[in-house]
Amino acid sequence: MTNNKQRREIVLPGEDLNRELRRRTRRAFLTGGAATLAGWGAYKWLTGAPQEDDMPWPQRRMLHWNRKLAHAYLDDSHRMATFSPNEVTYLKPNGDVGLDAAADAGGWKLTVAAEGSHPIELRMEDLLALPKTRMITRFCCIEGWDAIASWGGVRFADFTKKFFPPGRELPAYVYMTTPDEEYYVGLDRKSALHPQTLLAYEQNEKPLVPEHGAPLRLVIPVKYGIKSIKRIGSIRYLSTQPDDYWAEQGYDWFAGL
């Protein structure tokens, strides 16, 4: 009796049956023990491997793969649901990194730079001159809560069409920072140009308040709120993946919904 076939029924006389059962039990425990050790080792490796941006590299690699999958599937037709004005809820101001400087709309300017060309400086009038888009969408915080918020501003796609140097190919990434560069986000081109990605200057039909990023913030409903940077000071079009404030602290760089 040395094979380990799965027979429906094993019939053996007395002591042989017990011996067979003990043999199979021993064998199962040995296999199970080895599998447990292998699983334990795999878990230790998965959680203990050297870190890339505060995350073990196997997990960082896996999130990168998730991102490629999501990114390949992402389409302009994938929209966050839109809502009516009476469904708007309270939106908690949840982060103040980069908002220390007084929000002085008068002195505010926006630096826009494309790789290899001279940066330009914009004022609020330049944005107000572009077509205005309003939207009421869900704002999903990475913490798990959500709110329905009403925004007004310029589609980033419209903004890019106007201010990105004509005749040049748009690089793969966009990088935005606060004026003091304390807070910064990196975005992939496809998400940045998504029709629901807005450079917002209004919330609830009023100019933005300082704690929500006056005078200009990003609202990108197809990503977690950490990407909706408040009080934008600079926008750069880059061909390499930009840094990201929260990605450096162990979060997914893509953070797409």
């Binding site: 094993i10 059962l21 966050m80 959500d146």
Partner: protein
């Protein structure tokens, strides 16, 4: 005369024992995620009280939880799909899936019997009794529910139709959480039942074979 009867096929045993640590880690990483926004309660009981959070040290670990959750989800889902396909192809589903409404009444009788509220024998059964059929089929449906509600929270833009189907973003998160509590309750009952059933039964899930009397 005692014989060894094959109860659990080898593949099913592997799926079962692989699922156990994977589900445990999904629940664990889920706890790390849930901590960052923990609004649910039943009456005055909050999920989760401070002593629970500090005993397990689950606070301020959102990033770690998300990375683990979105890495291991693939293994959990693949193992679950493989199990369902295997039970369908091997025909094992016939023992697991209830095939008549009498399963409800039978399951009730099993429950009363197991709680020592009803004397006599359990209702006659094949491999699994009616309560087991409901539990083991139900847990697969719950697993599918976790995957769908999970996807609804994970990709509410790209899978907006699914999020809507789940009743919205907040509803999907609540269902996802409730199902997890369901697994914990399932686990408690399951382990208690295994303890009561004894070693021969548990050995069946380890070796595949149960010592049985062959009366035929």
């Amino acid at each position: 005369m005692p014989v060894l009867k094959l109860k659990h096929l080898r593949a099913v045993r592997w799926f079962h024992w692989i699922n156990f640590p994977l589900l445990a880690l999904m629940i664990w990483s889920g706890l790390l995620i849930y901590w960052a926004y923990a609004p649910y309660r039943v009456g005055s009981f909050h999920f989760f009280p401070n002593w629970f959070v500090s005993a397990l040290g689950i606070d301020h670990r959102l990033a770690e939880g998300m990375a683990l959750h979105f890495t291991l989800m693939w293994l959990f889902v693949l193992n679950g799909i493989a199990y369902v396909l295997y039970t369908l192809i091997s025909g094992e589903w016939r023992y697991l899936v209830p095939r008549s409404v009498s399963v409800l009444a039978d399951a009730w009788r099993v429950l009363l019997h197991d709680l020592y509220l009803r004397k006599g024998q359990r209702p006659p059964q094949e491999k699994y009794n009616a309560a087991q059929q409901l539990a083991y089929s139900g847990i697969v449906v719950m697993g599918a529910g976790s995957v769908l509600t999970g996807l609804a929270i994970y990709k509410p833009a790209q899978l907006a139709w699914l999020t809507a189907l789940c009743g919205g973003y907040a509803a999907a998160r609540l269902i996802h959480f409730a199902l997890t509590i369901g697994y914990v309750l399932f686990f408690l009952v399951h382990v208690a039942q295994v303890a009561v059933a004894g070693w021969n039964n548990l050995r069946g899930m380890i070796t595949g074979y149960e010592l049985a009397d062959d009366k035929q």
